[in-house]
């Protein structure tokens, strides 16, 4: 086995850089919309506590966004440096999609970010809100294009092959390929959940430390409302996404479930187990009869293809996706529990005073990020051995580079990422530990004649 050849090193590098990268945009996507809501409430109510919250979370957003931009530049060039086979063959499709992302999303975000972060005293409150809104919309448009591109790689359609290259035939079919709507919904909600758990955990921490001021309580409360809606919706969307995957990428489902045989009359679900690619079995499996069919086909005895239905060289590596999927799904269930417990405590009026619950939410802070990463590993490793499913193999996608180049660049990137992004995360955590400022911004609302100054009402009202 040549584990340290250019091909494997390039894969390792991509997995590493994209995993670090994805964390920051996910935070930005969720946080930008949260900030837009905060500013909308500020404009609508004039309650300056919203402004304190905005200032606090926008600083954390700014660091996250900056990290996302710089780690994203790496991605935009990595396709060329490490994956020139892929960019030659699939560039006619993924290139224009990326161009659209840059044009319609990146510029929108960057063009209004300056005003959003530094423009409070330079533009009117409405113009400022407009800037925040544009940044938030920009992050969502960006999600749209990049997931369209990614989904095309998973479930390609609307293309033809000419001279060994994938060329577009019908752009609408390319963009709205079969897995795209599901993936887009799943990812956008995931990003909101990532941000919501960060906000909630930060609130929980300050509640545990004894703070009871409005920005802290309201951050905690708003995040839990969002989670109460999104956690169950995400499970439903995930389920629909699973059905879609079974239809278009059955090998991925077989690998996720550790299924080897195609069983008739109902397939059991492996709760846990250890898939063995060589022996073609899943060892020590704990099974629940018929549950596999029930979940994946919504019927008692629906048929699910096993891995043996696919040639050995076409099978995704089951031991990874089997477990990453279970981590994601398990965290999803915990999230639902957290949200429901929150509702229950809220109804009993104990939300801000229940310490064990605050500890629980605090520990759940990174759960959104973990679930997101686990989900991405599942879908990306599950697509293997293809970069464009059924069309272009990963092994044919790599650049003509040597192991030395791939290895040195991997080493450099690992060191730089740990240094830079480690520090970035450190400061984000440090700011969150400090918490929102308490009441110092109150006087500033006088600068905005359009707002009613209801600072006192707001503080006494909660």
């Amino acid at each position: 086995m040549h584990i340290f050849d250019a091909f494997h090193l390039a894969r390792l590098q991509f997995a590493f850089t994209v995993s670090i990268h994805i964390i920051f945009p996910a935070i930005s996507i969720g946080m930008a919309s949260f900030l837009a809501v905060l500013e909308w409430r500020l404009l609508a109510t004039g309650d300056v506590a919203y402004k304190d919250m905005y200032h606090f979370w926008s600083k954390i957003f700014a660091v996250g966004f900056g990290m996302g931009v710089v780690s994203g530049v790496v991605m935009a060039y990595e396709f060329g440096t490490n994956w020139s086979g892929f960019s030659t063959v699939a560039g006619d499709i993924t290139g224009p999609l990326l161009t659209y992302e840059v044009l319609t999303a990146f510029f929108l975000e960057a063009g209004f970010l300056g005003v959003m972060l530094f423009g409070w005293n330079r533009v009117s409150p409405k113009a400022h809100f407009f800037s925040t809104l544009m940044v938030a919309i920009g992050t969502l448009i960006s999600t749209f294009w990049i997931l369209s591109s990614n989904s095309f790689m998973q479930t390609p359609q609307g293309y033809a092959i000419e001279n060994g290259r994938i060329v577009p035939v019908d752009w609408l079919k390319v963009i709205f390929n079969p897995s795209f709507p599901y993936r887009l919904a799943h990812m956008t909600i995931a990003a909101f959940i990532v941000a919501a758990f960060i906000v909630a955990a930060c609130g929980a921490w300050h509640l545990l430390r004894g703070r009871r001021d409005v920005p802290v309580k309201r951050s905690f409360s708003m995040a839990l409302w969002i989670l109460l809606v999104l956690a169950p919706v995400q499970i439903l969307v995930g389920d629909a996404h699973g059905l879609n995957t079974r239809k278009y990428q059955p090998a991925k489902i077989a690998a996720i479930e550790g299924l080897w045989e195609t069983e008739h009359g109902g397939t059991a679900l492996n709760l846990i187990g250890f898939p063995d690619m060589k022996a073609e079995v899943t060892r020590y499996a704990i099974q629940i009869p018929h549950l596999g069919s029930l979940i994946l086909t919504h019927s008692w005895d629906g048929e699910i293809l096993g891995l043996k239905a696919f040639a050995p060289e076409d099978r995704p590596y089951s031991p990874i996706v089997f477990w990453t999927f279970r981590i994601m799904a398990g965290l999803g269930m915990l999230m639902l529990l957290a949200a429901l417990l929150g509702l229950w405590l809220r109804l009993r009026g104990r939300l801000y005073e229940t310490r064990w619950y605050q500890w629980f939410i605090f520990c759940m802070g990174p759960s959104g990020i973990l679930a997101l990463l686990a989900g991405w590993v599942t879908t990306e490793v599950g697509r293997q051995p293809w970069t464009v499913y059924g069309v272009l193999r990963t092994v044919d996608s790599v650049s003509p580079i040597g192991a030395q180049q791939a290895g040195v660049s991997l080493l450099i990137l690992v060191i730089v990422y740990c240094l830079v992004f480690g520090t970035g995360v450190y400061y984000m955590l440090k700011m969150m530990k400090k918490g929102p400022a308490q009441g110092i911004e109150s006087h500033e609302s006088l600068k905005y004649p359009g707002l009613h100054n209801r600072a006192l009402d707001a503080v006494s009202g909660e």
Partner: protein
């Protein structure tokens, strides 16, 4: 008549790269000028002149990459592996300096380290961009749409000198920008720096020009043998005029002229480059037509570009307008 899409796309990418050089040039240039200014207050002002816009400036680099990827995938998948190390180091430089923007103000004990990261990152990114440019001018070996050279083909005295050329260009742009955006003592110091920087820039342009013309026969033929010398000659003459006017405007304490004229020099240098390589996109291997993606891909991306790019330029300009005027100590920004 069939529209010649590859030409349009080459123009769009050319424009994108030029806007990038213009904008991120002064932005990176500030990092290059950092070592000359020790004061905490001075450095903060320098950073805050670009705080609201650096991110937008850098987006043009991503546009260049994405545009190449979409319109000329072969270029993307050959130029990039050929310049593997410089590009990796460039993004590393950009990571360090981008992070320094956000983290510098938050760090107290380690602020010096982040200043160093900002300086080093800016210098590394500028240097590597110059090296990539140099290696492109030298030519890249391509067989069957794949890079077929040696991993260190990019490394040559010429490409390294191009790296220095870009470094000095960006520093001059940064200096011009800061004359425009600052006042008082800091502006005075910038004025003092502007003249030696411009002189070195002129020297660098002269050497790179001579080197390409004398060292690269294809370029020589383009300039002297094509019978168009009369058309091309204004380029070097205008460069000289610009340099002379910069000296004069600095003496007369003009605020915007030095920056605008440095931009003009960049534009002229860029024009010279285009003259040297057109219609190749990777000399001597690929012309823009040979490197193009399918008609449908170029058309699809063009529709969006034609609609969106003007809007982008407008709101980017608006952002500059919102943040117009001098930046002083204590203004909103990174603190």
């Amino acid at each position: 008549m069939q529209i010649d899409l590859p030409v349009i796309w080459a123009a769009i990418i050319g424009l994108g790269v030029f806007i990038y050089v213009m904008l991120d040039g002064f932005d990176l240039g500030i990092g290059l000028l950092f070592p000359f200014f020790e004061g905490k207050g001075e450095r903060e002002v320098m950073l805050n002149t670009v705080a609201p816009v650096w991110d937008g400036n850098e987006t043009f680099l991503v546009l260049g990459g994405a545009g190449l990827y979409g319109a000329f995938p072969v270029v993307y998948s050959t130029l990039l592996p050929a310049n593997y190390m410089p590009l990796i180091l460039m993004v590393v430089g950009l990571i360090f300096r981008g992070a320094a923007f956000e983290l510098r103000a938050k760090a107290t004990r380690t602020q010096h380290a982040w200043d160093l990261a900002f300086i080093g990152g800016s210098a590394l990114a500028a240097m590597c961009q110059g090296i990539v440019l140099g290696s492109l001018l030298q030519g890249i070996k391509i067989v069957d749409d794949k890079f077929a050279g040696d991993p260190f083909d990019w490394f040559s005295p010429f490409s390294v000198f191009c790296g220095f050329g870009v470094l000095i260009t960006y520093a001059t742009l940064g200096c011009g920008w800061l004359i425009l955006k600052t006042d008082g003592e800091l502006q005075r110091k910038m004025r003092q720096l502007m003249r030696p920087l411009t002189a070195v820039l002129l020297g660098a342009i002269a050497i790179v020009s001579l080197w390409t013309v004398l060292g690269l026969p294809a370029v020589e033929a383009r300039w002297f043998a094509s019978g168009n010398l009369g058309w091309f000659l204004p380029v070097p003459i205008l460069v000289l005029v610009c340099v002379a006017t910069i000296f004069r405007s600095v003496r007369l304490e003009h605020e915007t002229m030095p920056f605008l004229l440095t931009l003009a020099i960049c534009f002229l240098g860029y024009t010279g480059l285009v003259i040297s390589i057109w219609p190749y996109i990777i000399p001597p291997s690929l012309t823009i037509w040979e490197a193009s993606s399918s008609h449908s891909s170029q058309l699809f991306a063009l529709v969006g570009t034609v609609i969106v790019l003007p809007v982008i330029l407008v709101y980017n300009a608006m952002q500059y307008r919102v943040f117009r005027g001098k930046v002083r100590e204590g203004d909103a920004g990174y603190h």
